[in-house]
Symmetry: C2
Subunit: 307 residues, 2 copies
DNA sequence: TTGTAGGCGTTATCAA
DNA sequence: TTGATAACGCCTACAA
């Protein structure tokens, strides 16, 4: 008996037999495929998340179809439709946030979907993101505690959820400490290197420049550091700086950079696990917003001001 | 007649009818899916290429399954096998290069495969890559022409194809100009930020440091610049520098950085187009190595030395 | 030209 | 428990 089973298994291996996923799918209506849709394939924050998603889903025999929409709303719609055409069993996406009809369509078709990084109003849907508001709150609070009163912030695009949340944190902590807000210290960029470069200089060129600046994503932090080095702006004597997202970079820069670290691994894995759960029909706690805690790394780029 | 046709088409649209890819695939033995396998999802060079691959293939109704192997040989094999299990119609991959058995297996199964960025010995296979050798040759030549004699190079890992090619270019141009090679000027890193940071400092800390350094990928260039800025090494007075790959960065840095630019868009699109060709059974010119020309951007980071 | 039946490889159902 | 059979949706070949 046992011997036979072994023989059969050997034969299966020898013949390199494997199930035909398509025939199976035709019968079961499952493709064992998950669509992943992100704004851009050259933002390391998104692609890193994908690597963790891939890691989890692969273990469950799911493959991921990756699409990006180049920060373009109509492309976002198009690619989402493409994924539906491909009959993916589920979708993980970072929505642009401007429109929701295409996302609603997915939900109407009962294709499980998990949103990442951004909450979208008007949709009841699982979401996984970092607690951007408190991340910003805590970061800026560290500056306030050390006596800073004129704190600049370099935000992302005004209509993106993460921008709004991070700015809210900035505003709220000012309110809680009864600090007046100078709106000329609030700059909106586009989450690209250039923005960080130009906006930090714009802030420093003010007649009354900030004593500290909080930069709210990785690419802009990179740009800001480049500008700071070129101008020989001394960190932290002349300017205290808080960056975002990349631990490696924070370690390399001197003085070491204080940064907000998003739980990238956890975001990816959580999103994948929720989706797996939904795909097997477990709809407990739906919809659930996983607001994951960020970490703040306090390093040498912040100076205490004597008041 | 015409009216009927229109009515039918309207009905199709209204009912939101679409072909079942799985049923079709079961019959045609095609999944309309392409596997893309890269070393790492957090190297922007690879992910950018993917975005162009995606762009081309999507237009032909192909979706891409993205996998990464985290610079790990056994993971590379595992994921390649996974893609075969998924019955992808074709594969585009950046091979590690240490082993070829798994790639041979793909070819034996007659699944079209296109390699990117790295040539692998012992395999007859379409390859798309940048002309790394001449890229390095031309870059270093610009330094030599301007009187530099002690030129450092920061390479990638010793066993990676691109490392070897770029180093060959460095060595060959030295030979052609009858310049002696000081092997202490040749450093091997790992294509990560830290390498660039540490190795540029190691070079500059030599008793007889180079007057120019060529850094051979984006991440290491980033690290090198950070180190240079921290140390206040003056570019180009104290050191001439040539970086790699990222035009944005080159523009932002002051003085503007001379760089080697790989034709990322072309690499991705070419690979996708060759694969499309192979997948429809067109095996003309097989195997073909597309060695695409790089561009050299001459900027302010290079100084002429009077001799 | 138009229409219809059979089969792709799997799973699910039902009968033995 | 086991084994035969229909059905999934599309494509293709062949018949009308």
């Amino acid at each position: 008996m046992e011997e036979n089973r072994k023989k059969i298994e050997d034969a299966i291996r020898a013949l390199d037999f494997r199930v035909n996923e398509m025939a199976r799918g035709l019968k079961t209506n499952r493709t064992m495929t998950v669509g992943v849709l992100i704004p851009s394939l050259d933002k390391i924050f998104f692609t890193s998340i994908i690597s963790y998603i891939e890691n989890v889903l692969l273990q469950h025999k799911y493959s991921i179809i990756v699409c990006n929409y180049r920060d373009n709303l109509s492309l976002e719609k198009e690619k989402l439709k493409f994924l539906l055409d491909k009959m993916v069993d589920g979708i993980i996406m970072v929505p642009m946030g401007r429109d929701i009809e295409h996302i609603k369509l997915v939900m109407e078709k009962n294709v499980p979907i998990v949103l990442i990084d951004r909450v979208v109003k008007g949709i009841d849907c699982d979401v996984v993101l970092a607690d951007n508001l408190n991340a910003a709150y805590n970061a800026v609070e560290q500056l306030i505690i050390r006596g800073h009163k004129r704190i600049g912030i370099i935000c992302g695009p005004e209509d993106i959820y993460t921008t709004q949340e991070r700015l809210k944190g900035y505003l709220r902590v000012h309110e809680d400490y009864a600090l007046e807000i100078d709106h000329s210290l609030i700059e909106y960029g586009d989450y690209e290197i250039q923005s960080g470069y130009h906006l930090i200089l714009k802030l420093m060129d003010m007649s009354n420049p900030p004593t500290a600046v909080f930069v709210t994503n990785y690419e802009m932090t990179l740009g800001a550091i480049m500008a700071i080095n070129e101008r020989n702006i001394r960190i932290p004597d002349q300017l205290s700086l808080i960056g975002f997202d990349n631990i490696q970079m924070a370690k390399i820069v001197k003085p070491s950079l204080s940064i907000v670290v998003q739980p990238i691994k956890q975001i990816g894995e959580t999103a994948a696990n929720i989706l797996l759960k939904r795909m097997i029909g477990d709809n407990s706690n739906f919809p659930f917003i996983h607001r994951l805690k960020t970490e703040f790394l306090l390093k040498d780029s912040i100076k205490s001001i004597n008041t």
